[in-house]
Amino acid sequence: MAYLKKSPWIIHYDASSCNGCDIEILACLTPMYDVERFGIVNTGNPKHADIFVVTGTVNEQNREIILNIYNQMPNPKAVVAVGICATSAGVFRECYNVAGGIDMLIPVDVYVPGCAARPESIIDGIVTAWGILEEKRKTMNTAPAAADAAAEPGPVVQEPAGGAQ
């Protein structure tokens, strides 16, 4: 990560989060924390994005939207699950409309702890994801065919484990 070749653009989606982590992600973009100094820009278009930042839990309604956004993002891509809800559903684990963390739907590269996650840890998470992104890019460049084959078959959609009926 000593030499940065890329400005990672993020796309943020609120999957049944309480807003706490979302406003902290927005706070990262503003002068106090200012992630734009790393070249990080929040974009609304999945095709422009390198890092998918998800907050909140998976439920029946937003399952497809998360998959849509993830599948539309070009390779290489990284996923950051922000907050305890995105990690494991946290305090809402036992709610009837909560299936679980984001990793039951798409592969997650970095988990950011906290309820709500603090801007410092979100920045740390995104910068870590950026290192992973570089790794993925290198693998893609050295063995393009293998990387394509590994990345092509999309995420495996699992049924929720006992969660939403």
């Binding site: 989606y13 609120d14 989060s17 927005l26 503003t30 839990t57 937003n62 809402f92």
Partner: protein, 359 residues
Amino acid sequence: MSKQVIIPFGPQHPVLPEPLHLDLVLEDETVVDVIPSIGYVHRGLEKLVEKREYTEYVFIAERICGICSYIHSNTYVSGVEQIMGLEVPERAQYLRTIWSELSRLHSHLLWLGLFADGLGFESVFMNAWKLREHVLDELEATTGGRVIQGVCKVGGVRRDISPEKLDEMVKGLKELEKELERLTNVFLYDRSIASRLKGVGMLGKEDAYYLGAVGPTARGSGVPIDLRQTGYNVYDKINFKPVVEMEGDSYARCIVRAKEMFTSIDIIEQCVKKIPDGPVDMKVTGAPNGEFFSRAEQPRGEVIHYIKGNGTKHLVRHRVRTPTFTNIPPLVKLLKGVQLADVPVVVLTIDPCIGCAER
């Protein structure tokens, strides 16, 4: 009649950090009908009262929404306290009022920033959020949390604020007030903002009342509802006037929020002057038996927590009616006749908080 087109707005849309889905029925560029659909962030947390004890449930109630978090926990605990007939120490009530107003201040600044961003004023967005960090610092210094405070509990509050810190807070807010004046001048006196917002997204006084608008949405249409006037916490000992604007357009709703921030600072100052010494919590035994409708004024309007207990540690029912939920029918009304390009801005004027609305 020209051809009608339906354009989907959301759930993932750059202007809103949250998933709200609207089907906009358009004739040319004009919106003629709006079909809202919600449920993207529904968690079903009201049902959790059956699994958590009523004292633990405060944490869940606080996590209904990350922006209005503090006021949710405050409303929930005051409901439980009313059922149990607890006389909460006065100092705790004053502290609750101070934190309520700090969280209103941070919410309004957040909104002002997002709204400016929606208008294309990115520098104002950045400045509003810079000032908001000051309020969040105060919240963090006094409660330990930035957006989720976790400081309310049944029977009082978890932390006291020392008199020195209170004075320092008032001093800090005085500084902030000057900065806020500069910031709100952009909204109050800038011609380009006024011409973009005046007459857009009209909601008449009658409509606002009958469609159940609450908070700044209602007050921007000349309906003077402010739950703080019912005098919960210690608002009955504080001298303040709700901000009411008569025009009912997007501009009026914007002005209401801009002016309310100064009211909040004023209320905090009055609280700091009047706060008595004493304990900040009390011992609570037993469990709530009975039911209560607890109401409070959130940054977005009136919130109602219905709480029913049967004398056991687990409540029977908890039901929340949040301001954004009741503001959706007025939103549908005020979007009709708006140009497509104005839709994001007009949606933002009701300050939608979907985390609250769907729980």
